[in-house]
């Protein structure tokens, strides 16, 4: 059999948008087989995994709640990825944002609510930016690989959070659990509806998506970043600063991850715990990719990824499967996407059966 990849004269726009959908379909197909192999009724499992979480208004609220940090982080990361800056330490920047916001919440709990929440948001943003700035500085000044540095900082951030919740910020009445006290009323983000946990940071996430859109596609700085992402030589020739793009790419990622960390401690968590992050920083990499680094795409892929989280939890409850099954789905989705992406640049040609090429 002769199948051949043939370079397209121009990249296929249709495939660019079709490939995430195709990946989704194949991921579902693989999930179907996987459930069957695990000895579960696939159709019933699918219902539990993908439909159950959306059946109630509470479920939908949880879906958006989970999607908020993913969308926020992925929005920031997409700017970095477009600049070809591989910030994969969003998990650490998220944790730092959470720590910084917690510091403000614990020490200024006498401030009025709007002021306090604003302060927390700024603190969270700065916390994430500081953590990302370490990577940016080491990259631009010493040429240290940003992938490895930002990832190492994830572990350092985790231990920093551990130290805070085991040490200075430990809840004295927490029965020894590694966590801070529950935040005061003023440090908690207001929700839309009684009894549903989704809070106003959803509006924040949407706002940042819009800002990101204008930044990437309508601003000169965004253009410079795109150029240095495509070709360093072209950027240098045009006089755009490569180091500037690295800084902006990393700081944008850090700021968004930091604010996501703030929205987590100030929203569903109401406190800082040792396990505040739940892998959002890594899942957001997939969100950014599956969303084609585009704000609209990120919105939908964020919801999809949130569904995979919730589905994993449901599978744990009702199917007696570890919730990490959600992670397997996330990984598969990215695998398929990367595989299908060859069809953007290439097309498959069937060149006949057993025929020698001239």
């Amino acid at each position: 059999m002769m199948l051949k990849f043939e370079k397209r004269p121009v990249a296929s726009q249709a495939m660019r948008y079709l490939s995430p959908l195709l990946s989704m379909v194949l991921t579902l197909a693989c999930g179907f087989i996987m459930f069957a192999l695990l000895g579960k009724d696939p159709i019933k499992s699918f219902e539990i995994f993908f439909i159950n979480p959306l059946k109630t208004s509470y479920g939908v609220s949880e879906l958006f709640l989970k999607a908020i940090p993913l969308i926020l982080i992925a929005t920031g990361l997409s700017i970095g990825f477009r600049a070809n800056v591989w910030n994969i330490g969003a998990e650490g920047q998220f944790i730092l944002g959470a720590i910084a916001a917690t510091g403000v919440a614990l020490h200024f709990d006498d401030h009025p609510r709007i002021l306090l929440l604003t302060e927390m948001a700024i603190a969270g943003m700065l916390g994430g930016m500081v953590w990302a700035a370490i990577t940016a500085f080491l990259k631009t000044r010493f040429n240290a690989n940003e992938i490895l540095v930002s990832l190492m900082l994830v572990y350092v951030a985790q231990y920093l959070a551990d130290w805070f919740v085991h040490g200075p910020w430990k809840d004295p009445d927490g029965f020894g659990f590694p966590q801070t006290v529950i935040f005061s009323e003023n440090a908690i983000l207001p929700t839309f509806f009684e009894g549903l946990r989704v809070n106003i940071s959803l509006l924040g996430a949407l706002l940042f998506l819009v800002i990101a859109y204008f930044f990437i596609f309508k601003s000169f700085t965004g253009f410079k970043i795109l150029v240095s992402g495509y070709s360093k030589a072209a950027a240098r020739y045009a006089g755009f600063s490569i180091n500037g793009s690295v800084w902006i790419g990393l700081l944008a990622g850090g700021a968004m991850a930091g604010i996501a960390g703030m929205s987590e401690v100030s929203g569903p968590a109401n406190q800082l715990t040792a396990h505040i992050s739940n892998g959002y920083g890594f899942a957001a990499i997939i969100v950014a990719y599956v969303g084609r680094l585009h704000p609209v795409g990120i919105f939908f892929s964020g919801l999809l990824m949130a569904l995979l989280y919730l589905g994993g939890e449901q599978a744990q409850f009702y199917l007696n499967l570890p919730s990490s099954i959600g992670q397997i789905f996330q990984g598969m989705l990215l695998f398929f996407l990367l595989g299908f992406d060859i069809l953007v640049q290439y097309r498959i040609r069937y060149t006949g059966f057993m025929r020698k090429e001239a």
Partner: protein, 310 residues
Amino acid sequence: MDPQIFTAILHATIIAGTPLIIVALGLLVSEKSGVLNLGAEGMMAVGAVTGFAVTYHTGNPLLGSLAAMFAGALLSLIFAFLSITLLANQVATGLALAIFGVGLSAFAGKPYESETLTPVEPVRIPFISDIPLFGEALFNQQLIVYISWALFLGVLWFLYKTRKGLILRSVGESPTVAHAIGYSVVRYRYVAVFFGGAMAGLGGAFLSIFHTPLWSEGMIAGRGWIALALVVFATWRPFRVLMGAYLFGGVMIAQMFLQGSGLEVDLPSELLAALPYLATIVVLVIISRNPLSIRLHSPASLGKPYRPDS
């Protein structure tokens, strides 16, 4: 310092460095062929859980190690297919593999959480293990420690003394030229990635079968990433991988150093635990400061997909 403590620390350093040697040497070979596989963490995790499960059920750690190698290699084939055949971005594919592998290991390892294995007895090499100070630490070790040394010699010999090794390196330096001469770039890269996967699996198995010996989610704790950094630190040279691995091994057991030194220092345990990661950053900075040295020693086509345009 008490000689017994010295021996104990040396012993522990070697144990801590061994998985890094195995994994980093595998990655080195795959990077020498021009392929950067960032999925080491995922392959190690899957290797660790596979090795543990097989040893748990068969009681045979050797069989467990082989299964772990197989599992790691199998995962690396997914990576190879996507990045070599389908020309996907190596960085993104590697990341996907890391996320997928860690998730898969957590999923598959759930039933084994908090189970333990009977510890494997170390293998004592007669006579030389009686050397004072060093003998007990170097030559009364797990079998796999000796294997890691053999692996080092094997990789060194293969890369620099064999024809195939030369071709592999040329594939990594200039795939176009290698292809033009008539070597299959794709085949060499597949084999190199496969080898890297098998070694990552073995490195993971060392942790879960010989080192701890138990399985718990997250037990790889970034060692796959540290191994990747180690290859950069070693500027793609096997001997430096060996030395660097023991250096990192030493940092990982910093707690023991402190106790052994008898100094009265009150450091938070979290800081000590974060040391290996901080050390990795410091080392990366020191080594990368000189971009010329990196450019000189890194395989020229590292990370770039290759497609013969015929």
